[in-house]
């Protein structure tokens, strides 16, 4: 039944008695507050009232539940991106680790190869420098071992070194392009150069060798002997 208009809209300017309130729906009981504790009355002089402290907002006083942030996160769309990024990152890291391991494997293989090549080069170096190999080649190039009696040595002395150093000169043509010659021509050239060294010609190269030989270093082959000879000449002269 519809209530009467008077009941629905009270007349303006007239005091209307407060209608009886309908019973409020039952709400969840409010959290119990701790009863306000009033200071007990004590005898004695009146104390000055303390300045009231600012009361923090209730929202701030109550800590936010830990799951709330996660809830907000996973209910949004951001987590999809984060998850995708993490997954891609993990896969990428795995890939990098795998690649690193493969690289290590390759490096180890390369190390072994280099070690093998190094050993092989060491062996070749030793074999190629053998007197049994060099002596016949030198003989074929027209070189002979200098007879011991023909080798002369000078004592190294500061004056000799200074004099030898003063005779050093810059090679005229330090780098000459030689047209490709046949092996016969090359060996002929080598033979003629060795002959000129034996005869003690004073080429810039010869002077340089003389300077080196002043420190009593001797070569075993003809070139060494000629160096010693020329050093003897330069020092003795």
């Amino acid at each position: 039944m519809t209530p009467p208009a008077s009941a629905a809209a009270p007349p303006v300017g007239r005091a209307v008695p407060m209608p009886r309130r309908a019973p409020a729906p039952r709400r969840a009981p409010a959290p119990r507050r701790a009863p306000t504790r009033h200071p007990r009355r004590v005898s004695g002089p009146t104390r000055t009232a303390r300045a009231a402290r600012p009361v923090r907002a209730a929202a701030n006083a109550v800590p936010r539940p830990a799951g709330a942030l996660l809830d907000r996160l996973i209910r949004g769309r951001l987590w999809i991106g984060l998850l995708a990024f993490s997954l891609i990152g993990i896969v990428a890291m795995q890939m990098v680790v795998l690649k690193l391991n493969t690289d290590i494997g390759r490096t180890l293989t390369r190390e072994a190869t280099l070690q093998r090549e190094n050993a092989q080069l060491g062996i070749e170096d030793s074999m190629y420098s053998a007197e049994t190999r060099v002596a016949p080649l030198a003989a074929a190039a027209g070189m002979t071992l200098a007879p011991p009696g023909s080798v002369h040595f000078v004592q190294a002395a500061p004056a000799y070194i200074a004099r030898a150093a003063s005779t050093l000169s810059q090679p005229i043509q330090p780098h000459v392009e030689v047209p490709s010659a046949t092996s016969a021509e090359a060996s002929e050239a080598a033979a003629s150069s060795s002959t000129s060294e034996v005869s003690g010609s004073t080429t810039p190269g010869g002077e340089a060798t003389a300077a080196a030989a002043t420190t009593e270093s001797a070569g075993s082959e003809t070139s060494g002997a000629s160096a010693a000879e020329s050093s003897s000449t330069s020092a003795g002269g």
Binding site: Q115, A119, G122, A146, F153, A218
Partner: protein, 555 residues
């Protein structure tokens, strides 16, 4: 809308079913089948590799590699896994350098493990492993290579195939702890293609140290060439030569003949692998006379000019000792006794010195004890204890009979004469791992005056009238002493009339010696037996090369 929902539901059901299937499969693989898979993974993907340590290189004093290691493989097979041994043998034979029959014999053994090749060069092994034959495997090892073949083979020694290639003879044996290094271990997980996806080194490999010797490859080569030439001419049983720097005791060459290829030591008898320079005990003969003369000079019993009446023979303790050649009684000085190598003269000097003093000088020169060279297999020689001297002992000991010495002992003793009277320990190791080995301190045994007087007297041996007068090097003054000692015949126990040891120990330049060379030829068979004819020319040929090569002037 309902259709869409139904489809979504079906799709979900499908994926859920697939997920269930995957979970079931995962459970099966991780549960009942896990053991088998784990075993398969271990054999197929996970390998535990030994990383062989690179054995240290042995070089000469100029850095020329005399012994070097290179990676190789030990190729093995499990004959039980080979289904067609004949076909496998056909494939492997040319790569292993064996006949098909030899390979087939190995592959037909009733065992799960056979060696197909020890220390196979990497290239050949790689070709074999690339065939991916089931049951054929390779294990990385280091292979020892001696690039110069025969050069100093008896000094360098050999390494074995077992115990990670430990040294068995020579310096490879005595320096094994330095050269060997430590092998490493690593676990490798490979993918299906065999590419390593995880490598974990459980222990690091540590290569051996490089050892630099005092030997000079060129002088060593010359010494071996000269001994080979002596071998052709005089056909001795064996021979040895030592070249030393008397000022430091550094051994520049230590040659042995017959030559042995260090890369194939099994090709020669085990005796040929011995380093005779340190383990050959022989009666030194006249080279020992320098010891008795040194002692007498140092004691002040004689001077180089002291005169002695020398008869053709002398009788002592019931024994008669002759000079080498018959001669009338003559008067010789100490210098002449040495130059002409008079037995009677040396005995007279020994008698003048007395047995106690003589015995002490023998030991002072280092005879009867190890020289401390560090070379393996060194012998001490043998000297007669003083209490065992008989009435005739001083009749044979001063002339180098009745005691045993080694070539290295004799070279060391003469080094003391050459360097001014200091007995220095010979040594052959110059640097270890790039660090110089400290030269051992010497011990003065005679005064510089005595040493100088003796050097002057020893020049006479190579001068006209001396026992090695035919040996000379233009421009250089040489000094030394010849020795010709008859050997004891093991059949009769008497001195042989056909087996001799010819030797020469000398140095140059005589006034300030910088190089010493000892040559010992055991039992020359043809031509001559005398030290002055057989050994002294070899000394001359070695020194003729070595002196100018080392930049040693005539002095």
């Amino acid at each position: 809308m309902a259709v869409v929902q139904r489809r979504v539901g079906m799709l979900f059901a499908l994926f859920f079913a697939l997920l269930l299937l995957a979970a079931a499969r995962a459970l099966y693989l991780g549960g009942p089948h896990a053991g088998a898979l784990r075993r398969a993974a271990r054999t197929q993907q996970l390998t535990s590799e030994t990383v062989p340590a690179e054995r240290g290189t042995i070089t000469d004093r100029n850095g020329v590699a005399l012994a070097i290691s290179e990676p190789a493989q030990e190729v093995t097979a499990d004959p039980y896994l080979l289904k067609q041994p004949l076909a496998v043998a056909h494939q492997l034979a040319p790569l292993l350098g064996l006949t098909q029959a030899q390979v087939l014999t190995k592959l037909s053994e009733h065992t799960g493990f056979v060696y197909l090749a020890h220390a196979l060069p990497y290239e050949a092994a790689h070709k074999i492993l690339a065939l991916r034959l089931p049951g054929v495997q390779g294990a990385p090892i280091m292979r020892r290579v001696y690039p110069r073949g025969t050069l100093a083979a008896q000094v360098l020694g050999t390494v074995g195939t077992e115990h990670e290639g430990a040294g068995r003879l020579g310096l490879e044996y005595s320096l094994n702890s330095l050269l060997a290094g430590h092998a490493g271990q690593r676990h490798v997980v490979s993918d299906a293609k065999g590419q390593p996806v995880s490598i974990v080194e459980t222990s690091h490999e540590r290569p051996g140290a490089t050892v630099s010797l005092t030997l000079d490859a060129n002088i060593q080569q010359r010494a071996e060439d000269v001994l080979s030439a002596v071998g052709k001419v005089f056909q001795p049983k064996d021979s040895t030569a030592i070249v030393m720097d008397p000022r430091t005791g550094a051994i520049l060459a230590m040659a042995n003949w017959p030559l042995v290829n260090a890369n194939d030591p099994g090709a020669k008898a085990i005796e040929a692998l011995q380093n005779r320079a340190v383990n050959f005990n022989y009666e030194p003969g006249s080279t020992f006379k320098s010891v008795v003369v040194s002692g007498a000079l140092q004691e002040g019993r004689i001077t180089p000019e002291s005169g002695f009446e020398i008869p053709d023979q002398i009788e002592l303790g019931g024994r008669t000792i002759h000079d080498d050649t018959e001669h009338p009684g003559e008067s010789l000085t100490t210098s002449q006794i040495l130059a002409q190598s008079s037995n009677v003269g040396a005995i007279k000097i020994g008698l003048l010195e007395g047995r106690e003093k003589f015995n002490s000088w023998v030991h002072r020169f280092g005879f009867g004890a190890l020289t401390g060279s560090g070379l393996p297999g060194e012998e001490r020689g043998a000297t007669l204890p003083l209490d065992k001297y008989s009435g005739s002992s001083m009749g044979n000991l001063p002339i180098g009979q009745g005691e045993l010495v080694t070539p290295i002992q004799m070279a060391t003793a003469y080094s003391a004469i050459a360097n001014g009277g200091v007995l220095r320990q010979p040594h052959i190791v110059g640097e270890i791992g790039g660090r110089r080995v400290a030269e051992p301190a010497g011990k003065r045994i005679v005064s510089t005056t005595t040493a100088s007087e003796l050097r002057s007297m020893l020049k006479g041996v190579l001068a006209p009238g001396g026992t090695a007068s035919e040996v000379s090097i233009p421009g250089y003054q040489l000094a030394g002493k010849t020795g010709t000692a008859s050997k004891i015949d093991p059949q009769t126990g008497e001195y042989s009339k056909s087996a001799y040891v010819a030797s020469f120990v000398g140095f140059a330049p005589a006034s300030d010696p910088k190089l010493l060379c000892a040559v010992i030829i055991d039992e020359p068979q043809t031509g001559s037996i005398y030290g002055g004819v057989v050994a002294a020319p070899a000394f001359g040929q070695i020194m003729e090369f070595a002196l100018p090569y080392l930049g040693i002037g005539p002095g």
